[in-house]
Amino acid sequence: MKEELAIKDELASASPVAPRKRSRFGGWPILAALAILFAYVAFAVVQRRQAQTDLSVWTRERAIPYVSIVQPHQDARPQILALPGSVAAFYDAAIRAQVAGYVRSWSRDIGAVVKKGDILAEVDTPELDDRLAQAREELSRARAALALAKVTADRWAALRGSSAVSKQSSDEKASDEKVKQAEVGAASANLDRLKSQKAFAQVVAPFDGVVTARTVDVGSFVSPERSNEPLFKVADIHAVRIYVNVPQIYSARISKGMKASFTTPQWPGRTFEAPVVTTSSAIGAGTGSLLVELDTPNSDGALLPGSYADVHFELPVDPSQLRIAASALTIGEHGTRVAIVDAEDRVRFKPVSIAADFGSEVAIAAGLAPADRVIDNPADTLAEGDKVRIGGAPAASARE
């Protein structure tokens, strides 16, 4: 505690002058320290300011979004309307019995390729045969009667010349001959009718084609009356017709001669071309659709009648229309728009109207110029006039 006393003495002896003197000496180091401190602070502050400014620049730089650009392009690829259809034969005949009788034999089964006139089956017609015999006899009888009448008439005509008979009698005989003549004709016609009916006992193919159905068998009774079921079906499939029910909504876009193609499940990978031949020109009440017919040759017989067909109509498009990726569209309260990057790298929104939608692509009817730099996948935060930069690789889009 000695030093304490010493300092106390010092303090006590310190005159009012002393402090000033001390301060003059002691002030310098303190001032110097303060100056150094101030310099340090100033330096640090400036450094931080600089860092802040750099950061500010960096942030602002980052705040300008990068966008990827797609160019509108033209494309003549048609829009496809795909609808289910069914394949029908070019001609399709259902062959029914025209005579009553029992099937004696059938010679062609389903799938058989037949020529016109080929016998498909034969029908035993006992009743018809009887009637045929009867008719033949009737004809003979009529002919006999006619012969008698002719002789009689001739005779009476000669007698008339000798005026042995009255003119009345002679005329009667002549007339009788004519009647008998007519009866012969009738009997002959009846025989012919029955004969030709007898011909129907042979069921023949009406045209070149394929037997697509057979419902009779040997011994089964067939008759024209009970002919709800056809005996055979014969289809001509050298060409096929495809019928498509086009819903009303699309009906206006179908026209005669329009190109179309179809596929069938049994021929995967094979596409058949078939132009639109005609339409029913009426919307079916029950189906609500327009029946459209397409034809296509079927030389190899690949297309089977009754098949299901996936028909693709090629709806014509305006090849001058611009197309862009569907991912470039923004749809919202302002309608459908595309965002483009103008010459000053700023975002401009252009309202567009879609002419056709191809799924991953759309055709634009109006509102887009071919040189426009359209932003792909525009963020929904982009606004008119925003500055953007065009980025490197295009972003992955949903395009396949």
């Binding site: 303090l11 980052r62 705040a63 699309y250 923004t330 939608d357 799924g359 996948n377 980025g391 396949e400």
Partner: protein
């Protein structure tokens, strides 16, 4: 108090046993207490997950979530707020509660209301999952399963049905459904073309399955003496048999399911892909739930790994990724190391100062005892061992030595007066009992405001305050009990230890130190004398300097918690809205390549992608990355060990490069470390600007305006809108009249479309039991997505059953529009979130700028809408204001305490005047070390207040004694300064040295250490120079105050 000392002397074994008990209980507590990164944050959150397959977000929001939220808000008590996300097919409602909630009652209410609303919701909906978790429920480890030979569906199946039940046995592990892979189910792939060719619709197929695959128990029959179980083949035994089920007969030909569909053991369309280093995998995320320790959960899971590998087929590779235990362990062990280092350094310092190894031993023994006592106390009050409590203990080490040192110093002083050892101890104890108690109270008082902290910071800092207070109280008690006991043994025989000539190297060193210290004290005395002569100038200059220092305060910046660098980065990638998952997968692959290029070789150790939405809604509840659909992906990038330092630069480069290379893609770096994830409380970003209101369109426009401005705020990165409104949407407008004219209704159309596009499972759930493994799999009728690839395919969906088949396109207009990809609600109101992070600038400044942006655009905001800044910013602001208030309150409380102690209004004020210097020191230190202000730094500042006050009290009380002895004020103050120079310096040095390792570390609590060091350096200067000068001035001006002196002084020494 003195009675205790007497016991220590008379019955010495008492406190030796006490010390042993402390050690025993401390060690037991140390072993038993779970170790974790943070204290348990018991803010309960309940997540309710609704699932309805294929329901778009807008409908999910309107038809399910809204309704449910309203019901919940009226039926459940103590809700703080609710958040919800309506995604495609999922609705996740998170209910946050007041801290006072009875969570079990709330859960019961939630369960009840979930049942009540069910009738009002869409048909076929199942009751929701209800999950409870809290803020610290974050992923702690992930298991990745991959295989080169086994299909993803089978891996997923193994993960879901074999591994998950095993993991559920690990205490505290919550295991949501796996990510990635494919869910096994029986898939009936309907071929639309075949349907059309038979004139059937998908409904027919579903109806056929429903009628042919049944679960109808048919009963039993008693025949003769037996009762027979009747078994009907009402459900196919093999999957292939499903294909033989008849649909209907057309023209005598029977159409079977197999004719129009492909039945196979398969999986639904994938919505979630996980890749571990490029290989498709299944990822199981293990989330810590409840109060279990992170380390226990991880160790439990790791312990199960060998067993799990045995269960799995050998082809499946099982690896653990994203292991947080290393991080936790590192954090904890580095804090322990810092603490130990601090204790050692402090011990050395004491040895140097006291020059007596005996005294030093006494002090050093009391440090671990106090810490063990604190740990036992913490364990008893339900706290775990974590970075915060350990930080508190490290903080306490510096003060701990103080009590013991002062006691020993005093005993030594008494011994030097040639007293007997026992009376020396008693007298020494008597002298310091009041100052020691007051300084203990001072330090405890500054920590009191910590207990008032709300929210996350409260949960974090209360245990820290507890740790400090327990340790201090422990050390206070020890210094009255064990220290006297030990002093009695160790110092008794060495009365003249101090005066005996020192020997050896240490002795020489000690002598040298003493000499230099004496010189320093002389210099100090001269300085103090000079300051007293120049008193006015000095006081004004000093105060001016301190106040001027506060000018640096705004330059510091404010963060909630300091950023720490780790080897993990998490990158959130969001492709253009509506991007399909396959494309997102491709995009992510390219992004990974780009990352590899930017990072360069040997930087990235591994990358794990998690693409798209998880298959299970429960995983959505745990998701904190903001994934909303197939266009979203998270990439977890793990850098090679030792690359922590480069991570920040890498992030910056990636932020420059990635957006340029991938225009239209949004990138955001998410917190990968467990700490920030906890602090963000489920949000993927620290800044969340919400536009709340029902006019969604206008709000969206306003959010876009805000975003544009916010993105330009200096230091903002990754600004983005969470809810994209441009999800590509195809609108199908059915002409109902036309349809009805053709004989079918909207229901036919909707059902057909649902079955075709979304699958039948939601409205016609059918299950098939696999007799082989006993698992029931759903049977789903659907058209494979790859068969529906164009607008035409959509238009050609058969819309009606029966005679005249109609196609959808025949009765409907198909057009494009856009819709919401996600609908979020905040407290039952639609909300649009703008997320942003700060980089290179403190959160406080960035937030303030964003607030300005919000204010500037306030006029343009839609009527009735609200723009609110939430997220970490808000938590930070409230923590700061609470801490500032706490600080002010602490100063007032300390002042009042000293008023009571000194029975004077002026002397306490003299003491308080030292505090600005402490704060100035904090500011200077933080400024010089480029440390932003943060909650740990503020805690440090508070701590400084306590220590600075305690030291000042020491000086002032000595000065008052001198004054009472009749010395004039200046001499008294001078004597006090010189007399207390040593203990004050020792206390301060102990603290500073103790905080040194922490301050130099790169850990969470480094700012705390820095603040304490800076604050104490200045506070010590103030205590030793400024306070005596002010004291002297105060007393020389106010002689009247001396009337109180004798009374107070006599009390002081009693």
């Amino acid at each position: 108090m003195l009675a205790l000392v007497r016991i220590a002397l008379n019955r010495p074994y008492t406190f030796v046993v006490m010390a042993m008990l402390i050690v025993i209980f401390g060690v037991i507590a140390w072993i038993r207490t779970p170790t974790d990164i943070f204290p348990a944050i018991r803010i309960p959150v309940v997540a309710v997950v609704w699932t309805y397959n294929g329901l778009p977000p807008d409908d999910m929001s309107g038809r399910i979530v809204y309704y449910y939220e309203r019901a919940v808000s009226s039926a459940v008590n103590d809700i703080e707020h609710m958040e919800s996300q309506s995604l495609s097919g999922y609705g996740v409602v998170k209910i946050f509660f007041q801290p006072t909630v009875d969570i079990n009652a709330a859960l019961a209410q939630i369960g009840a209301v979930s049942q009540t609303v069910l009738k009002q919701l869409p048909p076929g909906i199942t009751p929701p999952y209800v999950l409870t978790f809290n803020a610290s429920s974050v992923p702690v480890i992930q298991l990745a399963l991959s295989s080169e030979t086994i299909s993803e569906a089978k891996i997923f199946d193994a993960a879901q049905n074999q591994i998950r039940p095993q993991l559920a046995t690990v205490a505290g592990a919550a295991v949501p459904s796996p990510y990635g892979g494919k869910v096994r189910q029986v898939q009936i792939d309907v071929d639309q073309a075949k349907l059309r060719s038979y004139g059937l619709s998908a409904q027919d197929v579903v109806a056929a399955v429903g009628q042919q695959d049944l679960i109808i128990p048919v009963g039993a029959q008693k025949i003769g003496g037996k009762e027979y179980v009747i078994q009907l083949n009402d459900s196919p035994e093999r999957i292939e048999e499903m294909g033989y089920l008849p649909i209907r007969s057309v023209d005598g030909a029977t159409v079977r399911i197999g004719d129009v569909a492909h039945v196979h053991d398969s999986y639904p369309p994938q919505t979630n892909i996980v890749r571990v280093d490029g290989v498709n995998a299944v990822l199981m995320t293990i989330v810590k739930a409840g109060s279990a320790s992170t380390l226990d959960v991880i160790n439990g899971v790791k312990g199960l790994l060998p067993r799990l590998r045995e269960i799995l087929p050998p082809e499946i590779k099982l690896v653990a990724v994203g292991d947080q235990s290393g991080f936790v362990q590192n954090a904890v062990s580095s804090v322990i190391f810092e603490g130990a280092l601090a204790a050692t350094l402090t011990g050395l310092m004491i040895l140097v100062f006291l020059g007596s190894w005996r005294s030093t031993v006494i002090i050093i023994v009391s440090i671990p005892l106090a810490i063990f006592g604190s740990i036992a106390g913490l364990a008893a009050t339900g706290e775990n061992i974590n970075v915060m409590t350990l930080g508190g203990l490290a903080l306490a080490v510096g003060i701990l030595v103080d009590d013991a040192t002062v006691t020993i110093e005093n005993i030594n002083f008494q011994l030097e007066q040639k007293k007997e050892i026992e009376s020396a101890i008693m007298d020494g104890a008597r002298q310091i009992v009041i100052p020691a108690t007051v300084s203990l109270l001072c330090i405890c008082i500054v920590f009191v405001p910590m207990f008032g902290l709300g929210g996350i910071s409260g949960y974090l800092f209360r245990p820290m305050a507890k740790a400090v207070i327990f340790a201090l109280v422990g050390s206070y008690i020890l210094s009255r009990t064990l220290v006297p006991t030990m002093a009695n043994y160790l110092l008794g025989g060495h009365v003249h230890d101090h005066d005996s000539p020192p020997r050896g190297f240490f002795g020489r060193f000690q002598r040298g130190f003493e000499r230099r210290f004496e010189a320093a004290r002389q210099a100090y005395a001269r300085l103090l004398g000079a300051a007293m002569l120049l008193r006015w100038k000095f006081v004004i200059a000093f105060l001016g300097f301190c106040l001027a220092s506060f000018a640096l305060f705004p330059l510091l910046g404010q963060n909630f918690f300091p950023n720490i660098e780790g080897v993990q980065l998490k990158l959130h990638v969001r492709g253009p809205t509506g991007l399909r998952i396959e494309e997102t997968g491709r995009l992510v692959k390219r992004v990974e390549t780009a990352i590899g290029e930017v990072a360069g070789p040997k930087v990235v150790a591994s990358m794990v992608d998690n693409i798209g939405l998880p298959v299970s809604g429960t995983s959505m509840a745990y998701n904190n990355t903001g994934t909303i659909g197939a266009a979203d992906a998270d990439i977890l990038i793990t850098l090679e060990e030792g690359q922590e330092k480069t991570s920040e630069a890498l992030v910056e480069r990636l932020r420059e490069k990635l957006p340029q290379s991938f225009p239209g893609v949004t990138f955001a770096f998410l917190p990968a470390d467990i700490v920030t994830q906890i602090l963000n409380f489920g949000l993927p970003a620290p800044i969340d600007v919400q536009v709340i209101g029902s006019d969604t369109t206008a709000n969206r426009a306003h959010a876009a305006r805000l975003l544009r401005r916010i993105a330009q705020v200096t230091g903002v990165a990754d600004a983005r809108i969470q809810q994209p409104g441009d999800a590509p949407t195809i609108r199908v407008d059915v002409d109902r009249l036309q349809a009805s004219r053709l004989g079918f209704s909207m229901k036919d159309i909707a059902t057909s479309m649902q079955i075709t596009l979304a699958g039948s499972i939601q409205t016609n759930p059918v299950f098939w039991l696999n007799p082989k493994n006993g698992v029931s799999y759903p049977v789903v009728t659907q058209t494979p997505q790859y068969w529906m690839e164009s607008l035409d395919d959509l238009a050609r969906i058969p819309a009606s059953q029966g005679k005249s088949p109609q196609l959808l396109g025949g009765v409907a207009q198909i057009s494009r529009e856009s819709s919401n990809a996600v609908v979020s609600h905040y407290s039952v109101q639609p909300v649009i979130d703008i997320y942003a992070s700060n980089t290179g600038r403190d959160l406080g400044a960035v937030s303030a700028d964003i607030e300005r942006v919000i204010a500037a655009l306030d006029a343009e905001k839609p009527r009735g809408s609200l723009v609110v800044l939430r997220g970490q910013t808000v938590t930070m602001a409230s923590a700061y204001s609470q801490l500032y208030q706490g600080l002010a309150l602490a100063v007032v409380l300390i002042y009042l305490l000293i008023v009571v102690n000194f029975q004077s209004w002026i002397d306490p004020f003299v003491i308080i005047t030292a505090l600005p210097a402490a704060l100035a020191g904090v500011v200077w230190m933080l400024f010089a070390t480029h440390t932003t202000l943060s909650v740990p730094a503020l805690t440090g500042a508070i701590m400084c207040m306590g220590v600075a006050t305690a030291n000042s009290i020491l000086v002032v009380s000595f000065a008052r004694e001198q004054l009472a002895e009749g010395l004039e004020p200046f001499a008294a103050a001078l004597n006090a300064g010189i007399g207390r120079f040593r203990p004050v310096l020792m206390t301060a040095l102990a603290m500073i040295i103790g905080m040194g390792p922490m301050a130099l570390s790169a850990e969470q609590n480094a700012p705390l250490g820095r603040a304490v060091i800076g604050g104490l350096i200045f506070a010590t200067v103030a205590t030793l120079i400024f306070v005596p000068v002010v004291f002297a001035m105060a007393h020389s001006r106010k002689p009247r105050a001396e009337a109180f002196q004798p009374l107070a002084a006599s009390e002081m020494s009693s």
